[in-house]
């Protein structure tokens, strides 16, 4: 028994080491750094600066707003997509094809979009077929949301697809037998039962979207500014690691709030089931 317990315990060693070294320690360091000023003295000034500065607060609101938009568009595309893929004959193949783009480096995908959206790019050539003069597509809010949504879609489709896959078909049959319309079946049965998939999809899209900073420059031309831009600047240019960490802590807190908000409802859903 004792031996067995010890052996059980050893399973957790790699996991524990990983979490300790790569999750807890860095977060701890960031929190510690956020209380240091330029001369490495303990201070609360960074937080005061943050909450008193209109620029940073505005940037926070911007980040949340863009992340929200990206998540909404991703969900709008992914839910029907996951649903239809599930109806298809070779669904494993189709799911594989949806995941395929994630095998390609993010930077390469961003550069590919620069080629597509530029003045002489494919998108404008296509418009040219209808006699439309080249439009400014790159460096607009549209292009930023478009590319970010494109990049996030696989991370939304997968959990939703799994949730739909878990769905017991007899529930749907029962709902139809009892006289529900298609729409009622969807809103009352399918949507609530696939909610856990939607929640985890939202989590895995919204949270990374909060701190996108490479796309804001490459695709948004720095016309879209999120907190990631400020963090990059504080670490690389001003070398004010304290302030950079403070913004990092704010982001972490925002992420925890999102996790709690989307996590709680998940258990509620399970209870009512």
């Amino acid at each position: 028994m004792n031996h067995r317990q010890f052996a059980n315990w050893t399973y957790y060693v790699p996991y524990g080491l990983w979490i300790g070294l790569f999750v807890i320690a860095p977060v701890g360091l960031i929190i510690y750094q956020s209380f240091l000023n330029l001369n490495n003295h303990f201070t609360l000034q960074n937080y005061v600066t943050y909450f008193k500065s209109g620029t940073y607060l505005m940037m926070t609101v911007n980040s949340l707003w863009w992340a929200f938009l990206i998540t909404v568009f991703t969900l709008l595309i992914s839910y029907p997509a996951a649903y239809f893929i599930h109806q298809l004959k070779h669904r494993q193949l189709w799911i594989l094809l949806t995941i395929l783009p994630t095998w390609i480096n993010l930077l390469l995908k961003a550069y590919a979009f620069i080629g597509i959206f530029s003045q002489s790019g494919i998108a404008n050539q296509f418009l040219g077929l209808f006699g439309i003069a080249p439009q400014q597509i790159l460096f607009t809010n549209f292009s930023f949301v478009f590319v970010a949504t494109y990049i996030q879609i696989p991370f939304m489709i997968l959990p939703i697809y799994n949730a739909i896959d878990d769905l017991d078909l007899s529930y749907i049959n029962a709902s139809r037998d009892l006289g529900a319309t298609n729409w009622q079946t969807f809103t009352k049965v399918i949507w609530p039962l696939t909610m856990p998939g939607v929640k985890s999809g939202v989590q895995s899209v919204f949270i990374p979207s909060l701190s996108l900073f490479m796309l804001t420059r490459l695709i948004g031309g720095n016309k879209v500014i999120t907190l990631g831009t400020a963090i990059e600047e504080h670490f690389l240019t001003t070398m004010n690691w304290g302030m950079g960490s403070t913004i990092g802590v704010v982001l972490i807190v925002a992420m925890v709030i999102i996790m709690v908000l989307t996590g709680e409802r998940k258990t509620e859903g399970r209870l009512s089931r």
């Binding site: 052996a7 330029l38 620069i114 460096f139 070398m239």
Partner: protein, 358 residues
Amino acid sequence: MKRLVSYVILILAVCGLLGFSANRLTASDNSGGGSKELNLYNWGDYIDPALITKFEKQTGYHVNVETFDSNEAMYTKIKQGGTNYDLTVPSDYMIEKMRAAHLLVPLNKAKLHGMHNFDSRLMNLEFDPHNKYSIPYFWGTLGIVYNDQDVKPGAIQHWNDLWSSKYKNNIMLVDSARDVLGFALVSNGASMNTTNLKTLVAAKNKLDRLTPNVKAIVADEIKMYMAENESAIAVDWSGEASEMMANNRHLHYVVPSEGSNLWFDNLVIPKTAKHYKAIYAFLNFMMKPANAAQNAKYVGYATPNKAAQQLLPASVRNDKQFYPDAKTMAHLQIYKNLSPEMVGEYNDLYLEFKMHHK
């Protein structure tokens, strides 16, 4: 379960073995072949690789090149230690900063041959009096690139011309706080090194009025965009401009005569240096006019080596935009090292300018 435990132990053992042998390998690198090595810490793509091969063949030293993409990143790496760079290439204000932080080793002038080749105007500057620590590697300016298909040649001569409503959504800016605020300061007749908050805020407010004209604030990608006619005008450094112009003959570069930034990248010996023989061999090699000229042709920035300049094609050597005349030179300003608080101030205002796009 037992099997799993033994797997874990096996993996840990392999990791340990690998770590140990890696450690031994680097140790032997440092002691054994160490005297025949040179560790150069340079900006990316900032030296002709053929020159390195030539140097290795001539002297027998092996050159390891590592690259950085910002002065600040380089500074952090050298300051935190654990590295063994023999030579690095900071810009002007960073030399001032590294000097103050005691991170540089003074040059032994007796071992340097060819110091007389350098342009005297580019020596003995405020950031390094009497070139005690550094010798110039490349220099350049900040200026305006325009495409003559969209902009009449001669229409843009001054910074203030950028504010013209003709260029709506047609200007790209280089993503650098000091350069962008810098040209706004010059256009207001102020110093690029100002520490006066009012002057800075005035410059930032002026920049806000430029936003309708700004298409994007990007970094290295400007080169690609300008070469592909994506934008009519860009504010960028001279070397970047020369690269764009090599790819698109419609592009031209202007240094506004009222003033701009003059910058230097100089070779210095950081405190982490070990291979002094190799260092001086390399410095002397790079100072030879033929080698400096070859490097300038490859990199595209202006060489401070006067003898090397004479070896460049006449079209390059006499190009006033890349080797400005005395009158323009007199108005150019070198960045000074600002206090961290002031750097923060510049960057906060710059962020606000970027936010103004909304």
